[in-house]
Every structure is written in structure tokens, then in C-alpha cells.
């Protein structure tokens, strides 16, 4: 499916300023410092992911953006508003999915969505909402009879009822089975196609990698790294891995190793790690041509994964923060 971004259709004035701007954000509960100077921007139309281990400060950051708490220091602007003083205005335009929020026990799906639509000045049509989160078939069911995944998608529907410009999702798929996660992701991707700006938190790498345009890794109250999944991995200082089947001539020692490339011959496999994949590949392929090796058999180039960089960043002591 084409990944059309609606950002180009947004009015230019909107693009100039970021949807979310966070500068020097600090938050303490008593003597415990949870956030120690967090900076990031979220652009209009993008999916931005705060990734980090439990206790890194993700939910606190989100609650500050949502106006549920007042920061100890720093500034927050969301859709040009100050969340702690303009909370009501913000709620007209921003939808929020909190962790573990219940529903009225006896309400039915469509009835509840309709009530929620009534809270907003420009609600999104009911049918559209049901379709967006794949709840059309259970629209008449009582909420308490929904599965966990369906309830989470109903969370989305309620957060989207007011046709928000921005949606906050706090750990949208924590504790779900693979099928429920997949449908949750589908709902988020539907949203992204509509051009809604999304800020989500997660501690699942695959979720961040799959959904986010940009990722910020939050650890111990600071942003360690931010950028696309690829940039984050590259910035983490991890090398790209290039391998190919060791040519028999090389194995027999009939030709020399290429110059300027840190190539390790491990029996049938030759491996090298590089920070500059393009340059290394060019050197390797030139070397192959010069030695009549043809195209190198079994050539693979593996970019450093988000997982590698995340584990490197948070592995040692990240979980204990």
C-alpha cells in the first residue's frame, strides 16, 4: 500500500512551526528527578515514537504534553498551545489514549462513540470512526463484552471522535497477542494515512521500527538519540555488515585481500564491518572485477538494526533506571 503523506497538503503556516516543541523539559516528583532536560520536536503529519525501557519517563513526558501535569522546568508547546494553561483548547484538537483507562460498564460501542462525538466542536462521522478502527461489526455490542484488542481500538475511536490534529498514544499494544497488535498497528497506519500527527510511546522495538517516522530513545530522563530508525542506528556508532561467499581463489590464497577494507575470511564466509557501506562496496566490487571474480556470490549488506543500537544504549543499566 502506498505510503502517502498528507503533509504536503497542510497549510504552509502550519508546517513552519512544529506540532510539538519540547525544550529543556524537567520533571521531579519530590526529590526524584524523572526528566532531566528533554528536547525534541514533532513535525506535523509524522508519527513520532518515544522509545525506552520501563521507568525511562515516557508516560511522564506524555502527561506533560497532555497537560495533566505541570513541568518543574522547561517549555512545552503543543499545537502552539501551552498544555498546562490551555488544556481545554488543547483537548478540542488533540486526542489522547492513556494506559489502562476504562469505559462506562453498560455502554454500547456506537452509543459511546456518539456520546464522545458530542463533546467536540467538529466530530468525525460515526461510520468513518468504526471503519478506521475495524469495529463496525461489533457496533451494537456492550463495551464490557469486547476483547482487549477491541477495547484498545475503541480507545482509538474515542480519541479520534473529535477529528483531532494530533493523537497521543501511550503504549498502545502493551500486553497484546500478535493478532491484536497487528490490528492495532493497522488502525494506527490508517490514521497516519489521514495525515494525523501521532506521538506514541512504546518499549517494543519492532513497534517503533514499523510505525514511526522518527524515534527518540528516552533513557533515565534524557533523550539519548533521535532520528529515523536508520539514523538512530547509525548514530549509535554501529557498523554496516557486508558479507559474501568466500571466492575459492581467495580461499586457496591465489589472490590478495582487498586493500583499505577490513575483511575477515571465516571459512566459506567473508565478512567486513564498515561505517561507509557505499565506499566499501565499491572497493570490494572493483577488487572482484580486477581479480576476475565476477559479482561476488551471496553478497548481502545488513544495515545496523534499531534493535542493535537500542540494546547497546539501554542494555547495561537501562532497565534499572
Amino acid at each position: 500500500m502506498a505510503d502517502t503523506r498528507v503533509i504536503d497538503e497542510a497549510p504552509p503556516a502550519v508546517i513552519d512551526s512544529p506540532a510539538v516543541q519540547v525544550r529543556g523539559l524537567r520533571m521531579s516528583y519530590g526529590s526524584t528527578e524523572v526528566l532531566r532536560g528533554v528536547d525534541f520536536d514533532v513535525r506535523y503529519g509524522e508519527v513520532f515514537c518515544l522509545l525506552g525501557p520501563n521507568g525511562a519517563g515516557k508516560t511522564t513526558t506524555l502527561e506533560l504534553l497532555e497537560g495533566f501535569r505541570r513541568p518543574t522546568g522547561g517549555t512545552v508547546r503543543v499545537l502552539g498551545l501551552n498544555p498546562s494553561t490551555q488544556a481545554t483548547k488543547l483537548r478540542d484538537r488533540a486526542g489522547m489514549v492513556l494506559q489502562e483507562c476504562g469505559f462506562p460498564r453498560q455502554a454500547r460501542v456506537a452509543e459511546l462513540i456518539n456520546i464522545w462525538r458530542g463533546y467536540y466542536p467538529n466530530p468525525r462521522p460515526l461510520g468513518e470512526l468504526l471503519e478506521l478502527v475495524e469495529l463496525t461489526e461489533v457496533r451494537g455490542n456492550q463495551v464490557r463484552k469486547l476483547s482487549a484488542g477491541q477495547r484498545r481500538r475503541l480507545d482509538f475511536a474515542l480519541a479520534l471522535a473529535g477529528d483531532p490534529d494530533l493523537v497521543f498514544l501511550d503504549e498502545p499494544t502493551t500486553g497484546f497477542d500478535p493478532e491484536a497488535r497487528r490490528r492495532c498497528w493497522a488502525a494506527i497506519e490508517n490514521l497516519r494515512r489521514l495525515g494525523t500527527t501521532i506521538v506514541l510511546t512504546t518499549h517494543y522495538l519492532d513497534e517503533a521500527e514499523r510505525l514511526a517516522d522518527r524515534i527518540a530513545i528516552l533513557r533515565a530522563g534524557r533523550i539519548e538519540l533521535a532520528g529515523t530508525a536508520h539514523e538512530v542506528a547509525a548514530h549509535a556508532g554501529l557498523a554496516t555488515r557486508i558479507c559474501f561467499t568466500t571466492p575459492s581463489a581467495l580461499r586457496r590464497g591465489q589472490i590478495a585481500l582487498p586493500e583499505g577494507v577490513d575483511l575477515a575470511v571465516r571459512g566459506p564466509l567473508s565478512v567486513c564491518h564498515t561505517d561507509n557501506a557505499a565506499m566499501t562496496l565499491r572497493t570490494l566490487l572493483d577488487w572482484a572485477v580486477d581479480n576476475y571474480l565476477g559479482d561476488l556470490d551471496g553478497l548481502t549488506v545488513t544495515a545496523p538494526s534499531l534493535e542493535d543500537s537500542y540494546l547497546q544504549l539501554t542494555g547495561a543499566d537501562g532497565d534499572h533506571q
Binding site: T88, R91, G95, C101, R105, Q106, A107, E111, G118, Q142
Partner: protein, 251 residues
């Protein structure tokens, strides 16, 4: 303002629908008082209050009116509020632009509707079954008693919801904090008079008998209920103070 009223109205409708869908709430709120009315009422037919020509049922029917008001306003609203808080519904409401006043107003409006309905049922059945109806001169006292009763017990319901620590215990705590007082207040027994002196003075301090006596004044001639009015006003003020101090939108 009109928007808030409209939203409160819609919220009240949703609450009423939910109330009738939730069989345990509806059964408890309606059937229980009516059952007590018919059972205990039947046992008192033909009896008079000692030394008077006032029928037992004439004071018993308004006592059950008070019981219904308290169940709907205090037990129901209090436990419902606690459940909404513990389920995170109140927190979710805070993520929307719905004004808090419109939301709470809707809940209260729904409570008032339930009280009016239960009062009408109890009054009608009391009149049909036992011939006990309000005096025409007692109608203002009836209206005043109902309004004061709703205000006082709804406030106390919000107050008790703030000290309930789990959704499961909400109903039992709300009910258990009221039923013993209802019993020693003589709500279920018009001739009840066997209390030791200190306990009957203590009962006078609670708002249950105050409301029952206010409503009894609509059915039988009674002296002006100055203390009962003051009692409800004081409990309302105390409850409101507690709510202002302890009310939370989330756990």
C-alpha cells in the same frame, strides 16, 4: 452555557440508559425498597402508633420514601462514582473538552430522575396498598424533603466515593455505611423505640432519621422540623467540604 446544559442532558440520558441496562443496580434500587414496603407494610396494617390515632403505615410509607431517596442518591451515586473512578472512566473524561461541571451535572440529573421515579412508585404503591397518601397541606414539605434529601445524600455519596478503595467494594461499603443507621433510625419499623438513651441521641445526629421525619411530616401532622432541616444542612455542608478536599478524577 447552553452547550454545557445540552451535554449534561445527553450525559444524563446515557446514565439512565446504563442504569436500566444494569439489572443489579436497577433491581436493587427499585425492587428492594418496594419489596420492603409491601412486606413490612402488610405486617403493620390495622396497627396504630401507641397512644395515637395515626396508622403505622402512615409513617412507614414516607420512611420507605426516604429509604429510596438514600439508596438512589447515596448508595447508587456513591458506588457508581467509585466504580467510574477505579475503572478510569473519570480520567478518560478528563482527556476530552467536556467541562467537568457538565459531566457531574449529567450524573446528578440522572440521579434526580431515578429519585423522582422511585418516589412516585413508592408513593403510589403505598397509597394503593395501604391507603397512605400525603396530606394536601403536606405537599410543600414533601417537595422540600425530597430536594433536601437528594442534595444532602448525593453530596454524601460523592464524599463516600472518595474513600472507597476498589470497584468491588464500592457497593458493599456504600450500603454497609447506611443500612445499620437506617435500622436504628427506625426506617423499617414505625413503632421502633427500644434503643438505649445514648443510642437514640446518636441516631438524632445522623441524617437518615432527619429525612424520614421530614417526609413523615408530609403524611401526618408533626411539629415544625427545625432540627431535621438543620441536620440535613449541616451534613450537606460537611459532605461538600469533604468532597472539595478529597475528590479526585483518578485513583
Amino acid at each position: 452555557m447552553t452547550r454545557s446544559l445540552r451535554l449534561a442532558g445527553r450525559q444524563a440520558l446515557l446514565e439512565q440508559r446504563s442504569f436500566w441496562r444494569s439489572t443489579e443496580y436497577a433491581l436493587f434500587t427499585f425492587v428492594f425498597p418496594l419489596m420492603i414496603l409491601l412486606l413490612i407494610g402488610a405486617a403493620n396494617v390495622g396497627s396504630y402508633l401507641p397512644g395515637t390515632d395515626v396508622k403505622n403505615t402512615t409513617v412507614f410509607v414516607p420512611s420507605i420514601l426516604a429509604f429510596g431517596v438514600i439508596v438512589a442518591a447515596y448508595v447508587n451515586l456513591g458506588s457508581k462514582m467509585a466504580v467510574l473512578r477505579h475503572d478510569g472512566v473519570l480520567k478518560r473524561i478528563r482527556t476530552t473538552p467536556l467541562p467537568s461541571a457538565a459531566y457531574l451535572g449529567g450524573l446528578l440529573a440522572s440521579t434526580v430522575a431515578t429519585v423522582i421515579l422511585i418516589t412516585a412508585c413508592t408513593g403510589l404503591i403505598g397509597w394503593l396498598a395501604f391507603g397512605a397518601g400525603p396530606r394536601s397541606a403536606g405537599l410543600p414539605a414533601l417537595a422540600a424533603g425530597l430536594i433536601l434529601g437528594i442534595v444532602c445524600f448525593a453530596t454524601l455519596g460523592l464524599a463516600i466515593s472518595s474513600v472507597i478503595t476498589s470497584a468491588e467494594s464500592a457497593g458493599p461499603i456504600a450500603f454497609a455505611s447506611f443500612l445499620p443507621i437506617a435500622i436504628i433510625s427506625g426506617v423499617f419499623d414505625p413503632t421502633f423505640s427500644g434503643l438505649p438513651g445514648w443510642l437514640s441521641r446518636l441516631v438524632t445526629a445522623f441524617p437518615v432519621r432527619a429525612l424520614a421525619q421530614l417526609l413523615q411530616g408530609a403524611y401526618a401532622v408533626r411539629p415544625f422540623p427545625a432540627w431535621d432541616l438543620a441536620n440535613l444542612a449541616l451534613w450537606t455542608a460537611a459532605g461538600a467540604g469533604f468532597v472539595a478536599w478529597r475528590f479526585r478524577w483518578h485513583t
